[in-house]
């Protein structure tokens, strides 16, 4: 089997968003509403300006440094990027330090494993 990786298939983007874990459900629902209920997510530890809340264990307080965050990974076509990003910004922004970041990257190719479809068809 030969998968042709076309250099011109640059119409897809990979969007990664690191958001507050407590915002995930809302973000998911908002994305679903604009027709993007497809993604993969996992938990990450975020190190940034906001530090983890201080903890106490047997009388000594300490700081674990990181904050639990959820990372969303999403493949979208070029024209979906704008609505996706603005939806995330709309929902996940609290205005307090620690809201997270969105990264956008080029994607060369995407393949749907079930069918072998490639490109936009595979989304």
């Amino acid at each position: 089997m030969k998968i042709s990786v076309k250099p011109d298939a640059k119409l897809m983007k990979k969007i990664e968003a690191i958001i507050r874990t407590s915002k995930f459900e809302e973000v998911y629902e908002a994305l679903a509403e604009i027709g993007i209920p497809f993604m993969s997510t996992y938990d990450v530890k975020g190190f940034g300006l906001e530090h983890g809340s201080s903890q106490v264990y047997r009388g000594t307080s300490y700081n674990v440094g990181f904050i639990p965050r959820t990372k969303i990974e999403l493949i979208a076509t070029d024209d979906q990027v704008d609505p996706v990003v603005s939806t995330i910004l709309k929902i996940a922004t609290t205005g307090k330090v620690g809201d997270g970041k969105i990264f956008i990257m080029d994607l060369e190719e995407v393949i749907r494993i079930r069918t072998g479809e490639i490109g936009e068809m595979a989304l």
Partner: protein, 434 residues
């Protein structure tokens, strides 16, 4: 009455104390297993403070309120003085043929602490720690012993022409806890995310194994709770109570299992666990008055009832994370009524007395607890902030996680402590040196 019998009886009662004590471990594991991991330390904290609070309040004045003795008892209130003072002959059989004064105190004190523990589970995952501790102190220190006196201390429920009957406390202990819990839940409201847009969203507990351990330990503890309530080691009576208790628990499991299978078409394990507890609560009021068939029926009904109750409370948006109302309140009432339907005492007069008892205890306790919760709401506040609830009570009330290092390699890292950063404090980037 031989000295030997006194010693045996006392040994038996001490064993019962141990069993009632382990019920607190059972409640601790059950309740924390049925809550989310982010609130686990909080729940364990509360459950660990219940035996201490219960025992100390009981030592301060609770024991004298609940068992004031013939001279001091009134119909609705009695009090025989502060503290616990060894009476003349309190260490001999002249105090009681079944136990010493100390044994008496400790057995009853362990009982007292259970009723507050019941409340703890029902208001879990959103109540302020300090508020709950204050509530427990007052509830165990005043409400429970006053109500308890009505029946076990010789009060008016005990002197009805057909006395209200509650062998080991379906009403006096379990329903009392349940009413206290109900009042709390009503004033607290449901957990965030439980009822959204009119839909029920289940919030599963974080560890079914822990909940299971809890139920086994509670069953074990019930052998002392009911078996010890015979107040002596009388072989026939005690062993009969143990058998009826076990059969009701067994039937409760089967009831919960089958009935929930009929309804939900799946082996809903939480309903098996609830069924066991339901059977135990149900048999508690009449464990010494029932026969084999009675006990099995009581257990079966309790096990089915709890399935319905859980569903109904959820429909009514009464959010009870551990099902304490369904188990302790509903089945407590069922068990108390069952004394009027089954067993040696069955009959209309008894049924009426049971209704009186249920009504009197329920009315007083609910009112007491409601006012108490309300006063606390106005003063200390009942509920943690939304943020605390979302992020978990553990990290906010205790600055601690229940399972710190699962999948957390970087966890042990400690860094210069910092409170939440203000925009103004944001550090300038350090220059990069290659």
């Amino acid at each position: 009455m031989s000295q030997e019998l006194f010693v045996i009886n006392n040994v038996w009662m001490m064993v019962s104390i141990f069993l009632v004590f382990v019920m607190h471990l059972g409640f601790a594991t059950l309740e924390s297993g049925l809550a989310r991991s982010k609130n686990t330390v909080n729940i364990l904290f509360k459950n660990s403070m219940m035996p201490p609070i219960g025992l100390l309040m009981y030592a301060l004045w609770g024991f004298s309120l609940m068992y004031p003795g013939a001279d001091f008892a009134g119909k609705v209130f009695g009090f025989s003085g502060w503290g616990i003072n060894l009476p003349e002959g309190g260490e001999t059989s002249s105090y009681n043929a079944g136990y010493t004064f100390w044994t008496d105190f400790l057995f009853q004190g362990m009982f007292a602490a259970t009723c507050a523990t019941i409340v703890s589970g029902a208001v879990a995952e959103r109540i302020k720690l300090a508020t709950f501790l204050v509530f427990s102190v007052v509830f165990v220190g005043l409400c429970y012993p006053i109500v308890g006196m009505w029946k076990w201390g010789g009060g008016f429920l005990n002197t009805l022409s057909t006395p209200f009957y509650d062998f080991a406390g379906s009403t006096i202990v379990h329903s009392v806890g349940g009413w206290g819990a109900l009042a709390g839940i009503l004033l607290l409201g449901p957990r965030i995310g439980k009822y959204v847009n009119g839909k029920i969203k289940p919030i599963p507990g974080h560890s079914i194994p822990m909940a299971t351990i809890g139920v086994f330990i509670l069953w074990l503890g019930w052998f002392g709770f009911n078996g010890g309530s015979v107040l002596s080691a009388a072989p026939g009576a005690v062993s009969r109570v143990l058998v009826m208790t076990s059969l009701a628990a067994a039937a409760g499991a089967v009831g919960g299992c089958l009935f929930s299978y009929l309804l939900f078409k799946t082996g809903d394990f939480t309903m098996v666990l609830n069924g066991i507890l339901a059977g135990l609560v149900g048999i508690t009021a009449g464990a010494d008055q029932m026969g084999v068939v009675d006990s099995v029926i009581i257990g079966l009904v309790a096990g089915s009832l709890v399935v319905v109750a859980v569903t109904v409370f959820d429909k009514l948006k009464v959010d009870d994370p551990v099902g304490a109302l369904s188990v302790h309140l509903v089945c407590g009432i069922w068990g108390t009524l069952a004394v009027g339907f089954f067993g040696n005492l069955a009959g209309t007069p008894q049924l009426i007395s049971q209704l009186i008892g249920i009504g009197a205890v329920g009315g007083f306790t609910f009112a007491f607890a409601f006012v108490l919760w309300w006063v606390l709401k106005m003063t200390m506040g009942l509920r943690v902030s939304e943020r605390e609830e979302m992020e978990g009570l553990d990290i906010h009330e205790h600055k601690m996680h229940a399972y710190p290092d699962i999948n957390s390699p970087g966890y042990e890292m400690s860094m210069p402590e910092k409170e939440e950063v203000l925009e103004a404090d944001l550090p300038k980037r350090a220059p990069i040196t290659a």
